[in-house]
Amino acid sequence: MSDHVDGNALAGDLREIFAVDLTVATGQCAGCGYRGSVATLRVYQNAPGLVARCPHCEEVVLRLVRAPGRAWLDLRGTVSLEIPLSS
């Protein structure tokens, strides 16, 4: 059963926090080393928060929990994010 959507679905909630679109950033999975666009992660959203998993090894690479007036962003499953910036 497929119950996930694409990393694209993170765009709105991440843009509430960051001034640039992080879904076009290239991330590296801390579990398997896979590199790919945040938009290609597998996002599970029927959950208490957003859980983004590596499309290659299915490990959790990013989590975002939104509460009234605050948010938690967990990136321990990500080695780094390469973020395109204008010049």
Binding site: M1, P48, V65, A67, R70, W72
Partner: protein, 199 residues
């Protein structure tokens, strides 16, 4: 401030009973999951309690279902704000499973197939408050709802009732689980609305 959408109520019922603060009644049983649904065949299923001293107590599926089971009817409360009343389960009380376990631990970290974890005080697993449930509504528990077996701790928010339960690690110090490391409350009492850290 959000603007109100006139006529919007969502998929909710108006309750004739008192619910924990901020909760809404649902008749269906929403499926929440933080990852792919594990499919664990019962002939490979195992449940392990490990103590702070490193001792392990393991049950096979056959051993689990041969233990005395209880039927439980209880209300459940999900932190995403739905509550469901009078759900019916069958399972083995943690009092039975922990009876012969020697421990000085105060905390438990529950582990699931698929990697999910959740933490709670050990005392909340005892005294008829928690079960390893394997039947729901007179049927085998489906994988979507945590089958073959899930933890059932209905007095806490339902994320503590770990689906696809695989074991319980007994600990001297509290160790936050999957959602508890991402902002959710370490205890999660719905009647005190302990949704997030600091609530």
């Amino acid at each position: 401030m959000p603007i109100v959408s006139p006529g919007f109520t969502g998929r909710r019922q108006s309750p004739d009973v008192q619910l924990p603060p901020g909760q809404y009644l649902t008749e269906d049983f929403p499926v929440l999951t933080a990852g792919p649904t594990p499919r664990v065949p019962t002939d490979r299923w195992e449940f392990t309690v490990s103590t702070e001293a490193g001792q392990k107590h393991t049950w096979s599926w056959q051993q689990l279902i041969e233990l005395p089971a209880e039927k439980i009817t209880t209300d459940i409360h999900c932190v995403t704000k739905w509550s469901k009343l009078r759900t019916r389960w069958k399972g083995v009380s943690l009092d039975v499973l922990l009876e012969d376990v020697e421990t000085a631990a105060d905390f438990a970290l529950v582990h699931s197939y698929g990697g999910y974890t959740t933490n709670l005080p050990l005392e909340d697993l005892l005294d008829g408050q928690a079960w390893i449930a394997y039947r729901y509504d007179d049927d085998d528990l489906t994988p979507e709802h945590g089958g073959p077996a899930r933890l059932l701790v209905p007095h806490l928010y339902f994320w503590k009732s770990a689906k696809w339960v695989r074991g319980i690690q007994l600990l001297l110090e509290d160790e936050p689980g999957f959602w508890e490391t991402a902002g959710y409350h370490d205890y999660g009492d719905p009647w005190r609305e302990q949704r997030y850290q600091g609530d």
